[in-house]
């Protein structure tokens, strides 16, 4: 079965002060339709850079090499126009910090509706109605009223729900969730995880927290210094880690006793 | 990054050149700046590379001596502004509370005046001379620095190393001057450099109006005062000192920007 998303030898290099920094180094990855795949690593391991590379959101002096195949088509070769079509509609992303990922001066309803207007060419009114529906989907109370509010009028957890709404609005086949719960309080984290589980779409779940991976993902990759050091079935990897780094990660979590299966 | 460095270097070169020229003015100037040499205005020539002014004085010499005055006024004025600004800003930022409120109110009040006119008004009750020009310019341009320093203190005073210093019994004064202030020096230096640029502009405007450096002491500003009547007949009288002012101010801006990039790494 052909994978929905296939990364072949993907590298992202930054040119800085004459040196080349390999933020992502020769990564291979596959995500099948409907699969929830985890990407684990510490800060600075390149996880977020990988996510941005898939969406071609890397700005100069960074450059992405290799193949990012989406249903067989290499995204890296697409025209900017076609790439824009894919973003938000087929692949979308939920960012880590809801306090900075929502535009503070635009109503949240508009931030969701504009996705419908530009991708599906819906009218203003229909797009607005669609936005209200999506807000309802992510369990925002009184969506008809809250749709007119600004981000600062929501709590952290609700802001992240809005972010999920923005990303899920067009029912993309792949949702990249980059540390979606890291910036939230513990009480909020559970709610967002439940929400993501509800969505039943292909997902690349990025986190530094191994416990979350075991809860959410059927398969996982471990990343260190831009490279994939281990991959496989979640239970396999967590129960029987082959790489030293993976072992260290798991052990330190065991010590803090976050309750792994 | 390379492009900006070129500008800063240019600025440094020009300012250093100006400083050297100013200090060495008595040696390099071809003639005495006050000496009336010709009976009528002359344009630029071999004898007078920048021409003469309406009184027959050599402009090149006057510009060199004028540079001494204009640059030293700027330096002292900024020193005054820095002293007031750093002191007020540090006290406001460190002690907070009512003291902070009062100092900030005072700063706001001072910022509500149009600086040039305030200086003019002050000069109208004094007899303008070099000293009070320096002091008055300094006394009306400290507000930005005070705000800056206050901001730095507000952020830094909560940091751990300040707590540590207090824990070992350092008195407030010591903490302010030995611990927090040195860390805030970066933006202050940038401010000081840009402040000098502003001071040169202000002094030249003041002297141009006749309320700054008084003739016959030459300053770039008061040289321009006399040039007004001879705009058509002797444009070099107006152009030359102006060019010097522009070069000096531009250089200081370049240096200031260069310093700002160096001292505030953001990437």
């Amino acid at each position: 079965m052909a994978a929905m998303l296939e990364l072949n030898k993907v590298s992202t290099h930054y040119l800085s002060g004459g040196r080349i920094i390999k933020a992502v180094d020769n990564v291979d990855m596959r995500i099948n339709e409907g699969e929830v795949v985890g990407l684990v690593g510490e800060s600075g391991s390149g996880k977020s850079t990988l996510a941005l590379s898939v969406l071609r959101l890397i700005d100069p002096p960074g450059k992405v090499y290799g193949e990012v195949l989406w249903n067989g088509i290499n995204l890296l070769n697409l025209s900017p126009q076609n790439m824009r079509r894919i973003r938000g509609e087929e692949i979308s992303m939920v960012f880590q910090d809801p306090f900075s990922s929502l535009n503070p001066v635009i109503k949240i309803g508009e931030q969701i509706a504009e996705v419908f207007r530009f991708h599906k060419k819906l009218s203003r009114r229909k797009a607005w109605e669609a936005a209200i529906k999506v807000l309802d989907l992510v369990h925002i109370k009184d969506p008809g009223e809250r749709v007119n509010d600004y981000p600062h009028q929501f709590s952290g957890g609700m802001k992240q729900r809005v972010a999920v709404a923005m990303a899920y609005a067009l029912s993309p086949k792949l949702l990249i969730a980059d540390e979606p719960t890291t910036a939230l309080d513990v009480t909020m984290q559970k709610a967002i995880l439940e929400l993501l589980k509800e969505l039943k779409t292909g997902m690349l779940f990025i986190t530094h927290n191994i416990a979350l991976v075991s809860e959410m993902c059927s398969r996982m990759y471990v990343m260190k210094d831009g490279r994939i050091v281990e991959q496989g079935d979640t239970r396999e990897v967590l129960g029987n880690p082959k790489d030293a780094y993976t072992k260290r990660l798991i052990d330190s979590y065991k010590e803090i006793n976050l309750g792994l299966d | 990054m390379r492009k900006k460095n070129k500008f800063a270097v240019f600025g440094l070169v020009v300012i250093t050149a100006f400083c050297v020229l100013s200090i060495a003015a008595p040696i390099i100037a071809p003639y005495d700046p006050g000496e009336i040499m010709e009976s009528e205005i002359q344009g630029p020539s071999l004898r007078h590379p920048f021409g003469t002014d309406d009184l027959g004085r050599d402009i090149l010499s006057r510009v060199l001596y004028g540079g001494r005055i204009s640059l030293s006024v700027a330096v002292i004025a900024v020193a005054v502004a820095l002293t007031i600004g750093v002191l007020l800003g540090a006290v406001a930022g460190y002690y907070g509370g009512l003291l902070d409120e009062m100092i900030m109110r005072f700063t706001d009040i001072m910022l509500s005046f149009p600086t040039i006119f305030l200086i003019l008004a002050i000069q109208s009750v004094l007899t303008p001379n070099i000293v009070n020009v320096m002091v008055v310019i300094g006394a009306t341009s400290w507000m930005g620095i005070a705000r800056l320093v206050r901001g730095e203190f507000l952020t830094v005073k909560e940091r751990d190393f300040v707590e540590a210093a207090r824990a070992i019994g350092c008195g407030n004064f010591r903490i302010i001057f030995k611990h927090i202030l040195p860390n805030s020096m970066g933006p202050v230096i940038v401010s000081g450099t840009l402040g000098m640029a502003g001071a040169i502009l202000t002094e030249s405007a003041l002297s141009f109006l006749g309320l700054g450096v008084q003739p016959p002491v030459p300053s770039w500003g008061n040289m321009l005062m006399d040039s007004q009547a001879y705009l058509i007949d002797a444009p070099w009288m107006a152009v030359i000192p102006g060019v010097f002012i522009v070069l000096a101010v531009l250089s200081l801006y370049f240096i200031g920007e260069g310093l700002r990039e160096r001292l505030n790494p953001k990437e």
């Binding site: 960012f95 503070p104 | 500008f7 003019l120 030249s204 101010v249």
Partner: protein, 304 residues
């Protein structure tokens, strides 16, 4: 939001008091008879003595200040030494001219600085950006009065395109050029900062066209601090206008004030100083109110 407005209005009072205090006490350092600050200079000596007692001019400075303040609040700044006319009348005749000069310049500055700043930021590092940076540095280094002289020499005397005096074009041109550079650079910096924000990346991640990202998502944020900035640039705009009025003989309040300085016409100096400061305070207040209206974070309260 109403709390914000109320707070701002409250802050006006110490500001105005402070302004009048400083103005009064600085002027009080002037040599000469302070009686003249209050009264018609055509008055007889016996009257003068009576006024001296009545107005408390034999009283301590503090009381004199309060009396002056009381009058100033009614816009009575005394009489001009030179013309004998009430100061407020002289100011009133000329203020509209100054406001005209400043408003036209202000609008032109806005119209130019916003597009130039935005384009410079979006195309950072391009030839446009570098050219603009160099030009703005040069403009910032030119003394306003010198630029005025050069313009007068060039456009009026040598080329004869515009009359030297009484015409608005050169004064506006000089004021605009003086003020443009700084404000455009701030616009550029503000836009650059916004473009670095995560929500801009998010907008792109949603597949929105770049034009929308720039104009809808970025610009709206970048323009907000500009309101405050324009307010902060008003004092310098006044200062520049005053000098320009003097050189081009534009009949505004600035020219009145500067010539009052030359003739030690203290009542007029005080009147112009206070009027200008009050206008600046008002302008800043309007800017702050505008800011509160435009920034939803201030306009709408939090809900949770």
């Amino acid at each position: 939001m109403s709390r914000y407005i109320f707070r701002r209005l409250l802050q006006l009072i110490p500001l105005l008091i402070g302004i009048t205090l400083i103005t009064f006490f600085v002027m009080h350092l002037a040599p000469g008879d302070p009686t003249a600050l209050f009264t018609d200079p055509n008055i007889k000596p016996e009257e003068l003595a009576r006024i001296r007692v009545n107005w408390g001019l034999d009283k301590p400075v503090g009381i004199q200040y309060l009396i002056w303040l009381k009058n100033a609040a009614r816009l009575d700044f005394g009489y001009s030494y030179i013309s004998g006319k009430p100061v407020i009348e002289e100011i009133g005749e000329r203020l509209p001219n100054t406001l005209l000069l400043m408003s036209v310049s202000f609008i032109i500055i806005l119209l130019i600085s916003i597009p130039v700043g935005v384009i410079s930021a979006v195309k950072k590092g391009s030839w446009f950006d570098n050219l603009f940076t160099i030009i703005s540095f040069i403009f910032m280094s030119i003394p306003t009065f010198w630029l005025a002289l050069v313009f007068m020499l060039l456009f009026s005397l040598k080329l004869g395109w515009v009359p030297s005096f009484g015409d608005l074009s050169l004064p506006v041109a000089v004021l605009v050029i003086s003020g443009l550079a700084g404000i455009t650079r701030y616009q550029r910096a503000s836009m650059l900062e916004v473009l670095n924000q995560e929500y801009i990346k998010v907008a792109r991640a949603k597949g929105l066209p770049e034009i929308i990202v720039i104009f809808k998502h970025a610009l709206r944020n970048a323009l907000i601090p500009i309101i405050t900035l324009m307010g902060l640039s008003i004092p310098d705009l006044f200062g520049g206008a005053f000098i320009i009025e003097t050189i081009f003989a534009w009949p505004g309040m600035g020219r009145l004030g500067v010539s009052a300085v030359f003739s030690r016409n203290y009542p007029v100096i005080m009147g112009v100083t206070v009027m200008t400061a009050v206008l600046i305070v008002l302008a800043n207040l309007i800017a702050d109110l505008g800011y509160a209206l435009v920034d939803p974070r201030i306009r709408y309260a939090k809900k949770e």
